[in-house]
Symmetry: C4
Subunit: 208 residues, 4 copies
């Protein structure tokens, strides 16, 4: 049944891709068109300035969900089998991802309030933990392809700690300084990028 | 034309995956950002507590639609042919799935009222019956792959009775106890999971 | 470059599938959750009865767009090449499909008024003509696979006249009898089904 | 690991296709169903006439995003490798694409005002520059397939200047003549079409 697994695994990843793609694109629909009182440039610039937290929230959430997709893409490229347990761990992760448009809109609408900021970080923390659990379950026999080295797996597992750690930090910071509390999350993609570039440079995994 | 069937069947499943993925992700857009009167923690916790039925409805619908996708994924992995009759049975199922964001929002907005709860259970009952009809029509010659055993088919057909049975039970319960009437649906994924694990343990189908 | 064409053609069809899938699933988000004055069954049944045109519009549009997807699926399964001209004919068709959620909501919100009904039929008429143009352009050398018979092509071209004819009829009827004017569209899927079954029975093309 | 790259590259393109497809289909949901005061034809025609900027904005954005997808499709068909740097350049482009439903709605709702028109052109300018950066980075070793000629690459790079140039022109024009400022964007697809047809005619790349 090995020949039956590959296309089915492909379908599982495409379903996941679709959920990631829809969640990441739905982030924009919570930004509503403003109707400023005046029609001059000053009124418009003021109206757009009021939307800045929404623009910022869109970019932050897009980058974080994009990074989650890139990690998912990387891990599933290393697998050649799966089973229902993996499907459900994957669905649990997708649930946290599909919830992001709400959390992102909540945080963007109330950008300096404690509970919305904590709620947003909590969504990412849950997503990060579910991602770690999925990757931990998936990156081993019998799911893992035979040609993947232990070093590669160790690197990915280390990298997948970034999201839960940074969102926990963001959650704690939001208790005292809601708003700037997102700083750890903003730094996270840079960390991921740096890690990705480091890995590419060493040549262990040339791509993915 | 056998070589022409496989990619076309793949396209049919990807279209289905896309509809499942969009419906499951649209569940969140009916949850609206609250605007509490105060800005303190108490006002926010109160506002989020009022959203609890929406969060609950999101999780319940996500798990049920996710289970429907997992079943669809399992069944279509066993096919190697299809025809227009199968396409239309499939489209009928997808119609019930695409309707779920409305039913879920209706039930979440009015979590303790009889008709919305019954409406939600009815949507799932129709979806469950259409799924049973699709699987019954698909899991046989000439659609079924030659290497699929009769035992596998019997198991899947038995499993696909879970959704119509549980949603019928939920529909009837909603007449007297709307709200707790969702209990059978909450138990359903566990039943599916247990069945899936049972099947995996016996080794008949190692995955999916 | 023949080996480079197949995966690219596949990608073109998957992009089309995604647009069809999103448009067909977005049909539901224009149905808004009612908030009846009372909480008894009578108030709820009245509220749901008022939504009947929306439920009807959802089903009608789902079936019509589903039939358009099934035809697109059938035709693209017969191709093995494409070029930019085909891409743009395809994008023109997808534009009419992507516009359907608006037309469907307009017609469902004002189910007995002339202009909304004509607007809906016009959207389908334009979609039907763009579909006919795409199929006419695609079902010939150098796009068509070598093993497709002239009889198959003739059948598909005849079938693809159904949508423009029925929506033109619906458009004209809407001038005098808006509402019942949708009858030709309701009959169309049956016609398509009948044709599809007829083709299957004769055995010329065993499956889509 | 060359055999592992192809399906992973395919998944990257399908994820991109999904984001393009969702963004292009979400353009319609910002067009709201009108509720005219009267029910006669005159009231309806007036109501639909007021929606004309929305219809125009939908068509313009659909064609521009469609052209961006067609260019993305063309370029990724020439690759056989990728790496994290390409993934992030691609995600940056997708972010600009996913933002289009907001910019398009802003421009359509305020069709003759300076700042909304400039904002729309700016979104396309950023998207065009990110697209140029992605293509510049992708159309070279080690990503490029061995059978792609330098002439093909030069043509595509020249073509991908069209969007940033035309949107910059549109941005500048919007300062003095908001509204007609979209003219360069309307002409752009024709330019792209002309170029595509020119390429096909010379026979260098028969399709894509």
């Amino acid at each position: 049944m090995s020949q039956g697994q590959e296309p089915q695994l492909e379908r599982l990843t495409f379903f996941s891709d679709a959920v990631f793609a829809i969640a990441i694109t739905l982030l924009v629909i919570e930004i509503h068109v403003p109707h400023p009182d005046g029609h001059d440039d000053a009124a418009w610039l003021h109206a757009l300035a009021e939307l800045l937290p929404h623009f910022f929230g869109f970019v932050l959430s897009f980058v974080v969900v994009g990074a989650m997709w890139a990690a998912h893409h990387r891990v599933f490229g290393l697998l050649h089998r799966y089973d229902p347990a993996l499907i459900w761990r994957n669905l649990a992760l997708l649930m946290a991802v599909a919830f992001m448009p709400f959390s992102s809109a909540l945080m963007s609408t109330h950008p300096a309030e404690r509970i919305p900021e904590m709620f947003y970080a909590l969504n990412l923390l849950v997503g990060g933990l579910l991602q770690y659990r999925l990757f931990r379950g998936a990156l081993r026999a019998p799911y893992l392809r035979g040609d993947v080295t232990g070093a590669e797996v160790a690197t990915i597992r280390r990298r997948s700690l970034a999201l839960p750690m940074m969102s926990l930090l963001s959650f704690v910071l939001a208790i005292w300084i809601p708003g700037p509390s997102n700083l750890p999350l903003m730094l996270m993609p840079l960390v991921v990028l740096a890690l990705a570039r480091g890995i590419r440079r060493t040549g262990a995994t040339p791509a993915t």
